[in-house]
Amino acid sequence: MLAAALGLARAGLRAAARPAVLLHARFEGSSTTETRPTVRPKDEVAQNQLCAFGEYVAEILPKYIQQVQVTCFNELEIFIHPDGIVPILTFLRDHTNAQFKSLADLTAIDVPTRQYRFEIVYNLLSLRFNSRIRVKTYTDELTPVDSAVSVHQAANWYEREVWDMYGIFFANHPDLRRILTDYGFEGHPFRKDFPLSGYVEIIVLNFPSRSVSTGKKE
């Protein structure tokens, strides 16, 4: 009896953690069927604000900005010439109307069919104005690109990762070396022409702990 009461109390506590409404709603039959399509409602205000800011930035920096667009998910994207990386990132960080102090992400995309196959993407966040912006540049395998470390310290390891995975060289980077691949690894794994299971087979031994290459090459 006592055990049952304790069990009930425990179950009661657990059920109370979830709101009671959820427990009922799960097994309710559908009395009215929903006919509206499940698409995100258009947020005109945010879209207009982002468009206005995009035009503002494009007006101030026409030397480097090639294109500005606002996606349907209300994301502002700026496409720039690679010479303009440091000027544009410094502008976005320092200008009073921008203040994108936080570099959220730095990545690259490989599209082998293009003349400049790599596209470098910077995602910035403004804490003052609670808004995000994406800056995109391009380069090919042999052209170095200016490092963003002088503008955002956070770019340090991100650029090391892009170098390791894609082979994009960042000029003026303080310490550009491999960060994710093994020590003697050859190749840049995220490129589209690098095969999924790589070129060399490796056996990982636990006792003694070491990894041995079998020498078998694909």
């Binding site: 480097y64 090639q66 496409f79 010479d83 000027p87 320092d94 009073t96 293009r114 400049y116 003052r128």
Partner: protein, 116 residues
């Protein structure tokens, strides 16, 4: 005036500024001087002068720090000082980079096409 200093900004590493009006006045004058090196028709000069003059007037007319912060609506006065310092360094760099010139180089035709 000196006795009305707030205890703390609430932000780590940001000390309370004594005499922020003086500090801001110097910074805004320097920014306006740095903007003189930029051609008059450049959009950056136009917009930055607008922002700086607006804030400068607010600093000149409002002696109380708390009311000045509310008028500017840009966080604490210490943060406003930091914004002015970054704007100053940016204005000096912009005079070097000259970003108001026309586009440096057009991208290849399908560079920004998505989906490919």
């Amino acid at each position: 005036m000196a006795g009305a200093l707030k205890k703390t900004t609430g932000l780590v590493g940001l000390a309370v500024a004594e005499n922020p009006h003086e500090h801001l006045r110097i910074l805004y004058t320097k920014i306006l001087a740095a903007l003189q090196d930029i051609p008059k028709d450049a959009a950056y000069r136009k917009y930055t002068e607008q922002i700086v003059n607006e804030r400068f007037n607010m600093v000149k007319t409002e002696p109380n720090v708390q009311k000045l912060e509310d008028k500017m609506k840009s966080g604490q006065i210490e943060e406003v000082i930091i914004q002015a310092e970054s704007e100053l360094s940016l204005a000096r760099k912009m005079a070097q980079w000259k970003p108001w010139e026309p586009l440096v180089e057009e991208p290849p035709t399908d560079q920004w096409r998505w989906p490919i």
